[in-house]
């Protein structure tokens, strides 16, 4: 065995494939025969139409082709070492501002002045006020497990949006005078060995300005938080599994401090940050190092320390962390449902504040989802429902939750999902959901083109009018700054595009 770290995902695939049984016991056929000779319960059938069984297969083939396309395009890209107009070698370098990097960060020369970008292509959607914006950003890479991160975030302080775009474009010319530098690794077909993550800013979601490169190679941003005019971005540097938990801090998006977050000596081989939230005492980041969950706290986004959190399960399943007046709140999972925990002011002592209804064979399970301020006051969460008994137990429905304090939640309505809608955002006057439309006429259903839906109350959803069929996309985020709404998605070539609208 070489000294190279094993590919975890491939090892898991191999292990699962090896341990799958070759034959099914004969009893299963008998069980099928027995079961199908029994009457069903007294349930009303749902109306349904004929199906097209080939659609899912077509979808999978399309996905495979998309993957090959990404692979092919990436190979072409690296094979040609193509420079980019927005890259550091051809952009507008900063002569006036020297990037500031803390002692714990990884320094490197980065232009830090805002740079104009090529004029984007803006298409107004017929029948709506929304616009499709493309041609602004360089081709992206998906650094971790072939998963793109949210990429676009709202700026809560002054409004507008910030984007962190990881791209290999410009790396070759910037580092090696045009020599080929990046290449694929075993981590995945879309993971190059190096990339640069550039920061972009927009006040309206349509016009973007390049700000600075993060002062680390191979930087991945997973979340941001703001407090007191300071923005903190968290994530990691390097490729999985050799990642290093990192936070980047700025007050102007042009000058960034990079900080490697402290970890225990036993767990310093890899670490990452999954999220960050601002609270009364500063910023709380959460992630993992080695085999342990970790929390870090910082009063200013620059000086970080790991904290020992008490009152949480040994391996808490955290979905999100939110700041509030008392400290921070965790939305997470226990063995059979959702739960919330509330911390004290310094994030070290946690108490389980609420436990959701337990999963049962009769009612299934109900899970919290992303939390938003409700347009009518209080909070709302778009969760899910696991399979349960009864004729009304519909897979794929949205479980709407409501809360007055963001801690204690009440099951509200069960809402039929209008498509494969798994990304939500709160916008002026309501909510926007995005994902993929359903193809098929009630029978076999597959994944269709990009779908965007709007709702004033989270219960009734309308399809966004005029959206052209954009195939093979992954929605990254839905964000709103109170005035504008941005749906960020990436196509099969790694090209980031935006749908920009107003409120509901």
């Amino acid at each position: 065995m070489s000294g190279r770290r094993p590919d975890t995902e491939q090892a898991i695939r191999d292990w699962l494939a090896d341990s799958a049984p070759d034959r099914a016991p004969a009893s299963l056929g008998e069980a099928l025969e027995d079961a199908t000779s029994r009457p069903a319960g007294d349930a009303r059938p749902w109306p349904r139409a004929g199906g097209q069984r080939s659609l899912l297969l077509v979808g999978r083939l399309a996905a495979a082709l998309a993957l090959l396309a990404i692979l092919a395009s990436g190979l072409y890209l690296y094979g040609n070492g193509r420079p980019t107009s927005t890259g550091p070698g051809s952009g507008s370098p900063s002569a006036s501002t020297t990037p500031q990097v803390s002692a714990s960060g990884t320094a490197g020369p980065r232009p830090s002045a805002a740079s104009p970008l090529p004029r984007p292509t803006v298409v107004h959607l017929a029948g709506s006020s929304w616009r499709l914006v493309s041609g602004t950003f360089p081709r992206m890479v998906a650094p971790a497990w072939a998963q793109f991160e949210p990429t676009v975030f709202e700026l809560s302080g002054n409004g507008g949006f910030v984007a962190f775009v990881p791209s290999p474009e410009g790396v070759a010319s910037h580092r090696s005078g045009g020599a080929i530098l990046a290449a694929f690794t075993t981590a995945g077909p879309t993971s190059p060995t190096s990339w640069e993550t550039r920061v972009y800013r927009s006040t309206d979601g349509v016009t973007w300005t390049a700000q600075a490169f993060l002062p680390n190679d191979a930087a991945t941003v997973t979340a941001v938080a703001e407090k007191g005019g300071r923005l903190v971005a968290v994530g990691w540097t390097g490729e999985t599994p050799n990642t290093t938990a990192t936070a980047w801090t700025t007050t102007d998006l042009l000058t960034w401090h990079a900080n490697t977050l402290p970890v225990t000596p036993q767990s310093d081989t890899y670490s990452s940050v999954s999220g960050v939230a601002a609270g009364p005492a500063g910023f709380l980041a959460w992630g993992d190092a080695g085999a342990s969950s970790l929390f870090w706290i910082s009063p200013d986004g620059i000086n970080w320390k790991a904290i020992a959190a008490s009152g949480l399960p040994a391996e808490p399943l955290i979905d999100a962390v939110y700041g509030n007046a008392q400290g921070w709140e965790i939305e997470g999972e226990v063995s059979d449902g959702s739960a919330t925990w509330q911390s004290n002011l310094d994030g070290a002592v946690w108490t389980r504040a609420w436990t959701g209804p337990a999963t049962s064979s009769t009612v299934g399970g109900h899970y919290l989802g992303p939390i938003f301020k409700a347009s009518g006051g209080g909070y709302v969460s778009f969760g899910g429902i696991s399979e349960g008994g009864g004729p009304l137990a519909q897979p794929n429905d949205i479980q709407l939750w409501t809360s007055m304090d963001e801690i204690h939640w009440t099951l509200a309505d069960r809402v039929v999902r209008p498509g494969w809608m798994y990304n939500f955002g709160a916008v002026a006057g309501g909510y926007v959901g995005a994902g993929q439309t359903v193809i098929g006429l009630g029978g076999e259903q597959g994944y269709g083109p990009l779908g965007v839906w709007t709702s004033a109350d989270g219960r009734t959803w309308q399809t966004l009018a005029g959206l052209p069929p954009i195939e093979s996309v992954q929605v990254l985020s839905v964000v709103g700054d109170g005035i504008h709404t941005v749906v960020a998605f990436v196509d099969q070539d790694g090209i980031l595009q935006l749908l920009v609208g107003g409120g509901i």
Partner: protein
């Protein structure tokens, strides 16, 4: 389709149009002629859908249950229970074309419920483990052996997600749809599961060195 499935298939196809049991069991509460036709069509669709459950589909389900539960006896029981539940809760399937996803969903829920009631952790049957050890000549066996104890320490949901992701090759969104949980939750659970498995693999590698 394998030969063993033919009797089942013939019997199911032969049953099309016959009553599935006492009429009251399938009464939908509306005794109008339209409701009766709808009920009949519904029964027919159910029979048609289940007639497509052949040996290959059963094997895939059994494999899924085995990989999640790491116990062939438990997997056999879970698959049988899932078959029974699927037949009796047919009305929860809104679109017949999504039978496979719907059945997977029932199966993984049965697995999850059963695992929560299994107090002791069971590993692979000893003979299987020995088979793997005997094949130690090829690189990666130690890695795979180190995965087994780590995997059974995962929560039921984490196990299900790992198997759906790396054996079924489902996307995050497809897993979310199967399990009825947000995609973000799937990503989060997968992240934690991978962290545990990665640590186990590296621990095994250290032992080997």
């Amino acid at each position: 389709m394998g030969e063993a499935a033919l009797p089942v298939l013939r019997r199911l196809r032969g049953s099309r149009g016959r009553p599935d049991g006492p009429a009251a069991s399938d009464t939908v509460g509306d005794h109008s002629a339209d409701a009766g036709r709808a009920s009949e069509a519904w029964r027919r669709q159910r029979v048609e859908a289940f007639s497509l459950v052949d040996d290959s589909r059963l094997l895939q389900s059994y494999r899924l249950a085995t990989l999640v539960m790491r116990d062939r006896d438990e997997a056999e029981d879970a698959t049988q229970e899932a078959i029974e539940r699927a037949w009796s809760s047919w009305a929860t399937l809104r679109d017949t074309g999504r039978f496979d996803a719907w059945f997977d969903r029932i199966l993984v829920n049965v697995c999850r419920n059963r695992m929560r009631h299994i107090r002791t952790i069971r590993l692979l049957p000893l003979d299987d483990a020995l088979d793997l050890a005997a094949a130690d000549a090829h690189e990666g066996t130690a890695t795979r052996l180190s995965l087994e104890p780590a995997f059974v320490r995962l929560s039921p949901d984490q196990r299900i997600i790992v198997v759906l992701r790396y054996w079924r090759d489902l996307s995050i969104e497809e897993i979310a749809e199967r399990l009825g949980i947000p995609a973000g939750t799937v990503k989060s659970r997968l992240h934690y599961a991978l962290r545990t498995l990665r640590a186990a693999i590296e621990s095994g590698e250290e032992v080997r060195r």
